[in-house]
Symmetry: C2
Subunit: 332 residues, 2 copies
């Protein structure tokens, strides 16, 4: 309520806020965000420990309600944006997400909306990340770009004509599952051979490292690393020490990632590709072979035009920002 | 002019019309089209014989002006839509089109507009075809679909959120140049290895036929066909006679086309894929392996959802309809 003072009313300066929730396989992050992308309150809770979606929603309601109170109450909240694996924008459901503890089709948007009495927008995590980049990050002002998240898996969100492509059924933007090497490495989750995710994800880089160490007899610092610690950070640490095998692992990964980027560029012709996630921390070791391979596979009309940019959103907040951005995007 | 009759005016029933022009390497088709997709007047002239763009524009002006007069005069014409290889929607220029007689960058939209004093919209031929399908054809009412033209080359037009994707620079939708078989067959025009166009175009099918006839010793009706006549029609004619090698050629082509379609589906998640062009006349011989390969390469969430449809626009008019549809699309 606006305070009254000596006969005239002071208008309430209640700028609206959005709630961003990012549901991952292990943990769920949440935050209250203003229109400029400032995260006012944030927190994290476990996803994994909740065997049922009902108990998950109960805890989510409890912890987020606290943040809402701290941020000025439910009246300031414009809505809730949720990013989740296999989140369907049109139906508001999470469908058969292999990394979440709940099976089948979960009517997540409805469950959250019923609990908070706020409008809820759901999409998959990579799509949310793309909208976050468009609103607050490296893609600000761009109408055509592709966001690629290189994490445990490879996700993507594609923006064309200024709008995210959800596709006919809400599941567009699965570049991670496009087949780049027909008959190539099998993907444990999907059973398909040669998808981008089989090579350019954290799991993919580890498998490449193991393969290269086995078939190649040259000395390498990576031989001292235990297999379960063989991640892109370990390969990067070896590469900066001048380790040849480590560099070859990045070259191989970049060659495949670059080919996938070239195919994506020839499909939607973006202004830029924004990369996000663990693998990007290896800098030029992975970027140079990626860029070279992309240019090599592009036909002339696309060459030397498309920027490859690294997301500069803070990793801790990027997921929350992306999810909250869904709220503002919806009202446009 | 509306006729006057006994004291009151009969209002002029001047429904607006659009001019569609399709510039190909050999010939240029043109026609006058109403909003319902009826082609009122149409004709064709040579592209090839015109060494300069000026002489081409002069003849085009002459022949199209006649059609305009027959259709009620310039006053009824809403605008001109042009489909041309490497046509850039944003700049109105044709850029480095390898199959046209004119080199470099041609300011086609301006040249045509200056001559006819009508607004001109240019795009590439496959994009024009996609808009034609959306307005008059198999994609009527769809907001997310992909048009693939399987002709001398492989072209594509992608519609998402109800709008054609032109991309940042106007050249989006080059699925024909995406790399499907890394290190595969070289494309004579681009020098790239393993692109879709190297396999699923008329040239590609011919090369596959020649390769299969060489490396395979089994008897085949195709051995009697001279190499320059080895097109998809010849392969089809052999297939309906039960020729095993002919069927293998279609299976091989469909396997690669289907993989490319799966990658496109996982990128933009269309409701349907519309195929157009010579290869589609081979019916189930090419469609079955294409469909099977597409489904095989899709992850579960996309399976058994995406229709593969054959364009049912009359081949003689499809290009004109597509180009003219640009005029109506522009005003929306």
């Amino acid at each position: 309520m606006a305070k009254k003072k000596a006969g005239h009313v002071i208008p309430p300066t209640v700028t609206p806020l959005a709630i961003g929730i990012d549901i991952g396989g292990t943990g769920t992050k949440y935050g209250i965000v203003d229109r400029d992308g400032n995260v006012l309150f944030s927190g994290e809770m476990s996803t994994k420990k909740h065997k049922t979606i009902e108990s998950f929603i109960d805890e989510l309601h409890q912890v987020v309600s606290e943040a809402i109170e701290n941020a000025g109450g439910i009246g300031r909240m414009k809505g809730i944006g949720v990013g989740a694996p296999n989140g369907n924008y049109y139906t508001g459901t999470i469908e058969y997400a292999p990394n979440l503890p709940w099976r089948g089709i979960i009517p997540l948007a409805k469950l959250v909306s019923d609990k908070f009495h706020l409008p809820v927008t759901l999409t998959n995590d990579a799509n949310a990340a793309a909208i976050g980049e468009m609103m607050y990050g490296a893609a600000k002002g761009m109408k055509d770009f592709i966001m690629i998240t290189l994490g445990t898996g490879v996700g993507s969100g594609i923006v064309a004509n200024g709008h995210l492509i959800y596709g006919h059924d809400g599941f567009a933007g699965e570049l991670g599952h496009t087949i780049i090497i027909p008959g190539g490495r099998i993907h444990e989750g999907t059973g398909k051979h040669g998808s981008l995710e089989s090579y350019a994800s954290a799991t993919g880089v580890r498998l490449t490292a193991i393969e290269f160490l086995e078939k190649n007899k040259k000395p390498s610092l990576l031989r001292k690393v235990s297999p379960d610690m063989l991640d892109s950070k370990a390969v990067y640490d070896a590469a900066i020490e001048g380790d040849e095998l480590a560099k070859e692992i990045f070259n191989y990964t970049g060659k495949i990632l670059g080919l996938a980027l070239a195919n994506a560029v020839m499909t939607t012709s973006p202004e830029a590709i924004i990369l996000f996630g663990g693998l990007t921390k290896s800098g030029e070791y992975i970027l140079k072979p990626t860029r070279d391979s992309m240019e090599e596979n592009l036909i002339q009309v696309f060459q030397n035009k498309v920027k490859i940019l690294i997301s500069h959103l803070k990793e801790a907040h990027a997921a929350i920002l992306g999810a909250s951005a869904l709220v503002w995007e919806k009202e446009q």
